[in-house]
């Protein structure tokens, strides 16, 4: 029997298609069978949630450097923040500064004496419109579903655009391996490696297990923490009943840390 080239190619084509489809059919057939259930990824039962976490610092209750030190220490200890020997390599999540540096646009030549000499706590403001997140080329820093501006250290490439973008100096760069400079290692929280940027994370890992941030817990009621969009929350209560200011509000970043003066 003589076959034309044309009919041979037709049959070969159909046969190749049939062979190619077999793996796809196998996969589809396996889907309907007895498969073990999928694992579930969920929030912890004690996890606290908010639309936008916010903080109010009552600076009237934190009068001296001695009052601020235990709060800074509590934070830096549990987050394995190293104490670098040189000031220009410093790594800080929360720190003390003077009025004129924290609120440069509110500073005047002559100000209230108590304010002038009062130390102020500064930390990441977890802005509602964070410039650091806009500039990050790898989305290593991002705003999470709770309004916390946080870092995914696995993605950080150390370009430091975020440090240039942050108007509050809240970010620090690891110029060296921080490991030798950590005084008390907290084994339950990761360290960082050389070449990544780090900053305050509003204690996202503590909120996930129903605990308040470390600095708030150590402040003996000088700081409040809660959901900015819950009218019943403690932060809203404090903001309602006291005059508060925010850092460099005119830049439009909408900081979530409020200061009672």
């Amino acid at each position: 029997m003589e076959k034309s080239r044309r009919s041979f190619l037709k049959i070969a084509g159909v046969a190749a298609l049939g062979l190619g489809a077999k793996p796809a059919i196998d996969v589809l057939a396996a889907g309907g069978g007895t498969q073990e259930p999928e694992p579930a990824l969920v929030r912890g039962p004690q996890a606290m949630t908010a639309q936008q976490w916010a903080m109010v610092i009552d600076t009237r209750k934190l009068k001296t450097s001695g009052d601020l030190e235990p709060l800074i220490e509590a934070c830096h200890k549990i987050h394995n923040v190293p104490k670098m020997p040189k000031k220009n390599h410093e790594i800080k999540w929360i720190w003390e500064d003077e009025y004129g540096h924290v609120f440069p646009n509110l500073h005047a030549e002559f100000v209230d004496e108590s304010v002038e000499h009062r130390p102020f706590l500064a930390l990441c403001n977890h802005c509602e419109n964070p410039p650091c997140v806009r500039v990050c080329p790898t989305q290593a820093t991002f705003k999470n579903s709770q309004g916390i501006v946080t870092m995914d250290m696995h993605r950080c490439i150390g370009c430091r655009f975020c440090m240039a973008a942050c108007p509050y100096g809240a970010r620090s760069f690891n110029f060296f391996n921080p490991e030798p400079y950590i005084e008390h290692v907290n084994k339950e929280y990761p360290r960082r490696m050389k070449g990544v940027v780090e900053k305050c994370n509003f204690c996202a890992e503590r909120l996930a297990v129903g605990k308040m941030p470390a600095c708030v817990e150590a402040s003996n009621g000088a700081m409040a923490f809660g959901d900015l969009y819950d009218p019943e929350s403690e932060v809203r209560e404090w903001i309602r009943s006291n005059y508060t200011i925010r850092r460099k509000q005119n830049l439009g970043t909408s900081p979530s840390v409020y200061y009672i003066i």
Binding site: L41, R43, G44, S145, K187, P190
Partner: protein
Amino acid sequence: MASKILFDKGKVIAGIVIFLALVTFPFIYNLGKAAPAPEPELTPKAKAAKVCVRDTEYMNKEHMQLLDVWRDTSVREGKRIYVSPNGTAYEMSLSNTCLDCHSNKAEFCDRCHNYASVDPYCWDCHIDNPKEAQ
């Protein structure tokens, strides 16, 4: 004329033989001497637990994919609990969950990683063996 198909026959064939001998030397030399695949060693705590977050076969093959999912969901989505198909809930944490049972990193993790010549940098930041040093 047939003898003219390959010029310098002797030199060419000798060359090919020497080339093949050199190229295959490492394979022939190491034949039958392959290092046996190391068995990860379990701590008493891991032995007592009997089951990991998933079955052993899955963990052998897929622990890297599992850890990748863990890090992304816990860091980026804030979901930190893993409910395995058998219904048990675990905290998704390398230091606090995995290395709590497998507190012998050198015998459990490093041995296979060295054998497979992989160099994961998890431990640059995630501190191994959280309980022992406390």
